[in-house]
């Protein structure tokens, strides 16, 4: 078995993980281990970002990070952790300009200024981007290049952390599955950063990559850390629905809305956003939570499009304007049989981002010494609804804080050396699963069932009955876990990785369902059909923790 030791271990190599590695090395950590279940810099959400990155650069018009903060707090519907939100908005410009020094290639106006577009909820044009729909790939490639230049950073792909090891209340390392070899690995770490992204993958309709099943939340919870705002899952309103579109992310219609406006119609061809208090006479201004609610209500009332969404149309936009705005993308759409000049597409809400996450302070420290979180995995900054464009700055800014704080923590500690028995159970579990296990149901099948339940009962519109049904199903799945079939095999046995994904996703799903049940009001992305109003008594966040016997405990605090 492989035993590794490092100063700073970073779990997850998307935008926040890669930036945390850079910051840790910059802060003096001599050994930084950057591990990812997928390939470093290729998995996660960062690489999927289509367009907007919000930062008060003031290139388009005068701007100030305090104005960005004001917009972020308003979008968060009273629930943002104001210190975290302030950190995000304050440091975003420095991170975005640094990316430019690293040649990310932000789109520019003819006069050389960085182009910034207006996105819903922002009081002015504030979102920069890389054309065409290339923000995520460009940011990921830029960070990959940077970490490649830093000798202190060791990258390991296809390494899935399965258990955090806590000794005397401190995080001291992990047990991981080396997916390629099918063998357990132990890693002693002076500080650990969880940068595993969100949990969108636990929903049937999602825009997530394969490795976003919420496992980082389950790891943190089991280690003794608290989670915050878990009921707030962002359902992106206009995810692509039909016709089937390949080679493009389902959230790719937002950039079209930024640049060209676009119009939403119900199944009968009637514009409906105004019925929900949204006025789009000045352009694309409807916030994500409002648009998602409006579309779900239209569909529920039987006014949806044939595939159960609504129509998004650009047929009023002249062809030359379409081509000027999206160049080669128009060709890619044509290959999918989509001609925006002549026909509307069908869109519908899709799980996209998690506002909730691991509770941290402004150094990204959790309540467990030695354990930090960054990026989407950390919760609180975006409250009940995230502004368009805040996810990439969050990844970079929080990654920077976490990497620096973890390096500082590591510098004060000796390399932990825990007794073998502490990790023995986790190591044995990997060996035992790799030997294969007979069972009635495969992990992948249960994951599909979980995604269906979450979509139906813990999705954009929720009720007490639906949530109770979901919790019962989730508990059944948790109890069935020991009987799930696992195919035998070591080398790249995906069935083995599936089992661990299922285990983590069940815990993540349970935290969302329990927090959603307790919040008997509607706010932001959390919409209760049985409690449709926002209740000022509920202007507080809920924290989820795990008791010694493995049960979930909820606590609401101002």
């Amino acid at each position: 078995m492989t035993d590794l030791a490092t100063d700073v271990l970073i779990v997850g190599a998307g935008g926040s993980g890669m930036y945390a590695a850079i910051a840790a090395a910059r802060a003096g950590a001599e050994r930084v281990l950057l591990a990812d279940k997928s390939l470093v810099g290729r998995g996660g959400a960062t690489i999927m970002a289509q367009m907007t990155v919000a930062a008060a650069l003031g290139e388009e018009c005068p701007d100030d990070w305090l104005a960005h903060l004001e917009d972020t707090l308003a979008a968060g519907r009273g629930l943002c952790d104001e210190d975290l939100a302030a950190l995000l908005c304050r440091d975003a410009p420095a991170r975005i300009r640094e990316m430019e020094e690293w040649r990310v290639g932000w789109a520019r106006r003819a006069d050389g200024r960085i182009a910034q577009v207006a996105a819903p909820g922002h009081s002015r044009p504030r979102c920069c981007y890389v054309d065409f729909l290339n923000t995520g790939p460009a940011v990921a490639a830029t960070l990959r290049r940077q970490i490649g230049h830093i000798g202190a950073i060791r990258r390991v792909s296809n390494l899935a952390v399965t258990d955090l090891i806590v000794q005397g209340g401190e995080a001291v390392g992990v047990v991981a599955l080396d997916i390629a070899a099918g063998e357990p690995v132990t890693i002693f770490a002076k500080a650990i950063v969880i940068a595993t992204g969100g949990l969108s993958r636990i929903y049937r309709r999602n825009s997530a990559s394969a490795n976003m099943g919420g496992d980082g939340y389950a790891l943190a919870l089991a280690a003794g850390a608290a989670l915050v705002d878990m009921e707030f899952v962002q359902f992106f309103p206009i995810g692509h629905l039909a016709p089937r579109l390949v080679g493009m992310d389902p959230i790719m219609w937002d950039p079209f809305r930024y640049k060209l406006g676009g119009r939403l119609f119900d199944g009968a061809g009637r514009e409906f956003l105004a019925d929900y208090g949204s006025d789009e006479s000045t352009g694309y201004t409807t916030p994500r939570d409002v648009a998602t609610y409006a579309i779900q209500k239209e569909v529920a009332a039987g006014r949806g499009s044939p595939h159960g969404g609504v129509y998004l149309s650009f047929t009023h936009v002249p062809r030359h304007a379409l081509e000027a705005a999206f160049g080669p993308v128009i060709e890619r759409l044509a290959k999918n049989g989509i001609d925006l000049g002549t026909a509307a597409v069908e869109v519908a809400p899709i799980a996209h981002y998690h506002m909730g996450g691991i509770a941290v302070d402004t150094h990204m420290a959790t309540s467990v010494p030695g354990l930090f979180a960054a990026g989407e995995a950390a919760g609180g900054a975006n409250g009940a609804n995230r502004l368009s464009g805040n996810a990439i700055p969050e990844a970079l800014v929080f990654g920077e804080q976490a990497g620096r704080a973890a390096a500082r923590h590591a510098a004060r500690r000796l390399t932990p050396d825990w007794p073998g028995r502490m990790a023995a159970v986790a190591v044995e579990q990997i060996h035992s699963l790799a030997a294969g296990r007979h069972g009635d149901v495969a992990a992948g099948e249960l994951l599909d069932r979980l995604r269906e339940v979450m979509w139906r009962d813990v999705g954009p519109l929720r009720t007490a009955d639906g949530l109770a049904r979901a919790i019962a199903m989730i508990e059944e799945m948790r109890d069935a876990l020991p009987q799930v079939a696992v195919p035998a095999g070591r080398q790249f046995n995906s069935g083995l990785a599936d089992w661990f994904e299922l285990r983590g996703s069940i815990v993540a799903a349970a935290t969302v369902a329990h927090a959603a049940t307790a919040r008997r009001e509607s706010r932001g992305s959390h919409q209760r059909e049985d409690f449709p109003n926002t209740d000022s008594d509920w202007a507080r966040s809920q924290r989820v923790s795990m008791t010694a016997d493995g049960a979930l405990a909820l606590e609401a605090r101002p």
């Binding site: 390939l39 998995g43 999927m48 790939p137 390629a180 080679g247 493009m248 992948g444 070591r490 599936d498």
Partner: protein, 123 residues
Amino acid sequence: MTKHAPSKQIASKPIARLCVYRGSADAPSPRYQEFALPFEPGATVLDALIRIRAQQDPSLAIRYSCINANVCKECLIAIDGVVGYACTTRLRSDAPMTLDPLPGKTVLRDLVTETRPPRERLK
């Protein structure tokens, strides 16, 4: 191949057939295994492989991460002898499709090859 049986196609839902390379260092005797699943117009080869893994054979291995965006570039395999992305190649129902691991790379399992950069490997 199935052009002579249009009436059957109408009577029952069309089927897609995939002939998939199976083999690993654990079980060193590579073979092809055929899978059949309901054909859905517009579906991709990756859609089919994900569905097979969930419903028929969880031991089937394929590398993928972003699923539909074609940005992770992990699902590169050989499809009917031509190197392509499983996530952008449409499934067909008129003839079986043969799937092989990326040529010239070490096979880890089934369609998964060693595509990690050498500096990102544990050993």
